[in-house]
């Protein structure tokens, strides 16, 4: 609540506040921090309740986009950045037994995962094994029946460029870029325009494009 703490003496009795060090929304309810939030429950399982508001929002957004997958779905996660370890793990925890098949192409060096208990550890181990199924970045978009999810971070321009380029082939799925709205972060306007993509940038900070073909 850093930003709100700076301004709280100047605002009159807001009915709800969403705030971190970069943004402050007044008169907005925040469902992400309630005890019914699946995103918060997941983050709690991995000792990660202190992550940014953007990360809470990313995980919740991924749950939202994929909440209707079922036992006929084939889900493929392409994690381009090691900073997107938590979102990849979140999808593994959320969807593994819900879909027919889940595959992961994880970044070369994943961030350290800190399971809070035995059960969270079991799921973390399963996640690590899912990254070993032979799925490669070159597979993006090559299976029209699969739902492809691409996760990148705007801090690495090359990663975003290759992500957008690859996403042009995707029939069903989404690309999510952490920090897309940050000042000086690459927006890759030429590539997205050429690919007929409109990147929606959220107030939480990430951008995304959906493929619904």
């Amino acid at each position: 609540m850093k930003l709100y703490e700076l301004i709280k003496d100047r605002v009159k009795d807001p009915k709800g506040v969403i705030s971190d060090s970069e943004m402050c929304l007044l008169n907005r309810r925040d469902f992400l921090f309630s005890e019914t939030s699946a995103a918060k429950t997941f983050l709690g399982m991995y000792n990660a309740l202190g992550v940014t508001y953007e990360m809470y929002s990313i995980i919740d957004f991924l749950f939202t986009c994929l909440c209707r997958v079922d036992s006929t779905s084939h889900l493929r996660i392409f994690q381009l950045s090691s900073t997107m370890t938590l979102p990849s793990l979140a999808m593994s925890v959320m969807f593994t037994d819900k879909v027919e098949r889940i595959e992961m192409c994880l970044a070369r060096e994943n961030q350290k995962i800190l399971p809070i208990d035995v059960y969270a550890k079991v799921l973390a181990k399963r996640f690590a094994l899912q990254g070993d199924t032979g799925l490669h970045l070159s597979d993006i978009g090559n299976n029209e029946h699969a739902v492809d999810v691409l996760l990148c971070n705007s801090s690495n321009e090359a990663e975003v460029v290759s992500g957008f380029n690859a996403f042009r082939q995707v029939k069903k799925g989404l690309i999510l870029i952490k920090g897309y709205g940050k000042f000086n972060a690459p927006n890759c306007g030429e590539i997205t325009t050429a690919g007929g993509m409109n990147v929606h940038c959220t107030l939480a900070g990430f951008g995304f494009v959906l493929a619904l073909r």
């Binding site: 749950f63 593994t96 079991v122």
Partner: protein, 543 residues
């Protein structure tokens, strides 16, 4: 020319409506639907209203709702849609909506009997008994009484504790309609608390003719449990999980609605993870935790889903168990291969508490308060009050209005107890107590009110404060379960209007906890005499 065309259209629509009415009368729903579709293409709003009505008659409630809502949205004067939305929502057990549409319809058609009955039934479900009673009374004709109106009146009087009137009407109705199954059910419900043995035979009789009546089985389970027929009671108790029973049953948190539920603990694979979900009502929750340690021995891979305010107490009391928040609900399906799905906490009772003996042989305390806080509160209170005996008190209980009326014994009646000078009485009453606080101002120096702890939100501090007392005197409320489960001494005060099943019928000691003495008020003694006798017992007992 144009007018002639319009007139012809209206005439055609009326003719089709008449045909639909005729088909509905002869229960020819297929033909009625064909005609309704024709009407939809001519005039959408009335057509949809008829379509909705056909679906309603066929008990296709989702389709009925969709058609009727659209019809009403297209034309707010589409009364056919409006009046039929009430039974749709009654059947869907969405009573708030049934009341909302009922209110609208009743304003327009106050003399329409079916509108009035449906509206009154919805009001009753929302526990607005006075309003419901007024409507049923306005419809009641003593010379030619109708069963639905009599049933409504009996239920209202029973809910308002006007037992004489409900008994009188029930006997009258039974003479008029001796074969009515509805009256057998009503008799069972009417006597469920007052005369459970009589009620049980009525339930059994009613179930002979409608063995799949979930609501009946749910009500019967509470009677069976009250009579300590735990074996059958716990099995029927699971009917409270079904949507037909609704919110007065055992509704699970909605986040778990889509997940796989197991109700028989014997079906759980101990090698897999088991998710146990707590139930609404923290009193029942604490009672059900009575066998949780035994469960954890059999199923060590257990994840307990609980509300935030219970977490510190539960993690202290059941340290071997993982504790997750409600947000885990949507994650279950993604992990169904390594879990058993979820089991509601109430469902594990059938395995571990099938008899009175199983309760009595397991009366060891199982809830652990925060010792540091307990000692801090105790020494502070003793310091302030001159080292007298501390007695925690609570006089209000129940969540539902009817339960509140059953359980509550207003503080004004507590005079005989509060006059015991050797004790300091600590209010442990949750919720708004300002009214009582103001009324008691200056009347009893030994009655203490604790500021700075939110008894509803900060359960851990409330529990510690209760455990800081030497004993607790309370009506049937969550407090009794908490301190009972901690092994503290409790005097439980029960009114003569009924009590939760676990307190049984005549026992003087609770079966589920080590040290709860039950004081039952009977209709033969006045409330003042009752409190005087409790005060005498406290006075003459060595703590």
């Amino acid at each position: 020319m144009k007018n002639k065309k319009t007139d012809k259209g209206i005439e055609d629509a009326i003719a089709i409506s008449q045909q639909i009415d005729a088909h509905l009368k002869s229960e020819n729903y297929g033909e009625a639907m064909i005609e309704a579709e024709k009407l939809v293409s001519m005039n959408r709003s009335p057509g949809l209203a008829y379509k909705g009505l056909v679906h309603l008659r066929k008990n296709e409630l989702d389709f009925a709702e969709a058609a009727l809502v659209e019809s009403y949205q297209l034309n707010p004067k589409q009364h056919l849609a409006l009046v039929n939305l009430i039974p749709v929502y009654l059947k869907k057990r969405d009573f708030k909506k049934a009341v909302a549409f009922g209110e609208e319809a009743y304003k327009i058609f106050p003399k329409n009997e079916s509108v009035a009955i449906n509206y009154a039934a919805a009001l009753m479900q929302e526990q607005k008994y006075d309003q419901s009673l007024a409507i049923f009374n306005s419809l009641y004709d003593e010379k030619s009484p109708k069963l639905p109106i009599l049933s409504g009146l009996i239920s209202c009087y029973r809910s308002l504790f006007q037992t004489e009137k409900s008994d009188e009407l029930l006997a009258f109705a039974e003479r008029l309609f001796p074969d009515s199954q509805e009256l057998v059910r009503l008799r069972a419900d009417t006597f469920a608390e007052r005369d459970p043995k009589n009620a049980l035979s009525s339930f059994e009789k009613a179930l002979k003719n409608s063995s799949d009546n979930v609501a009946l089985k749910w009500n019967m389970s509470l009677v069976q449990l009250r009579l300590h027929k735990f074996d059958q009671g716990w099995s029927n108790y699971d009917n409270g999980l079904k949507p037909e029973v609704g919110k007065i049953g055992r509704p699970m948190p909605t986040l778990f609605n889509k997940s796989y539920m197991i109700t028989d603990p014997n079906e759980l694979d101990p090698m897999k993870w088991t998710i146990v979900v707590v139930e609404q009502g923290i009193g029942d929750q604490v009672l059900f935790f009575g066998c949780f340690r035994e469960f954890l021995i059999d199923y060590p891979k257990t994840i307990l889903i609980s509300e935030k305010r219970m977490r510190s107490i539960l993690s202290r009391s059941f340290s071997s168990c993982l504790l997750y928040p409600y947000g885990f609900g949507p994650l279950i399906d993604g992990n169904i291969r390594n879990t058993n799905g979820f089991i509601p906490l109430g469902c594990i009772q059938k395995k571990y508490r099938p008899s009175v003996d199983s309760y009595i042989s397991n009366q060891t305390p199982y809830l652990i308060p925060d010792q540091e806080k307990t000692e801090k509160y105790r020494s502070k209170l003793l310091q302030k009050t001159g080292n007298k005996q501390l007695v925690g008190i609570s006089w209000k209980g129940g969540y539902w209005e009817r339960a509140q009326k059953t359980k509550t014994l207003e503080l004004d009646y507590w005079e005989s107890i509060l006059q015991l000078k050797d004790y300091i009485f600590v209010s442990l009453q949750y919720g708004d107590v300002e009214r009582e606080k103001n009324r008691m101002q200056g009347r009893y120096e030994n009655l203490k009110w604790i500021d700075g702890i939110d008894f509803k939100a900060d359960l851990d501090s409330w529990f510690a404060l209760a455990c800081a007392c030497d004993r607790v005197v309370s009506v049937s409320t969550a407090l009794v379960h908490f301190v009972g489960a901690a092994g503290k001494k409790v005097d439980l005060l029960l009114s003569d209007r009924g009590a939760p099943f676990i307190w049984g019928l005549e026992e003087k000691k609770a079966i589920a906890y080590r040290d709860i003495t039950i004081h039952r008020k009977t209709p033969e003694v006045t409330i003042q005499e009752f409190f005087k006798s409790v005060a005498n017992r406290i006075k003459h007992e060595t703590l």
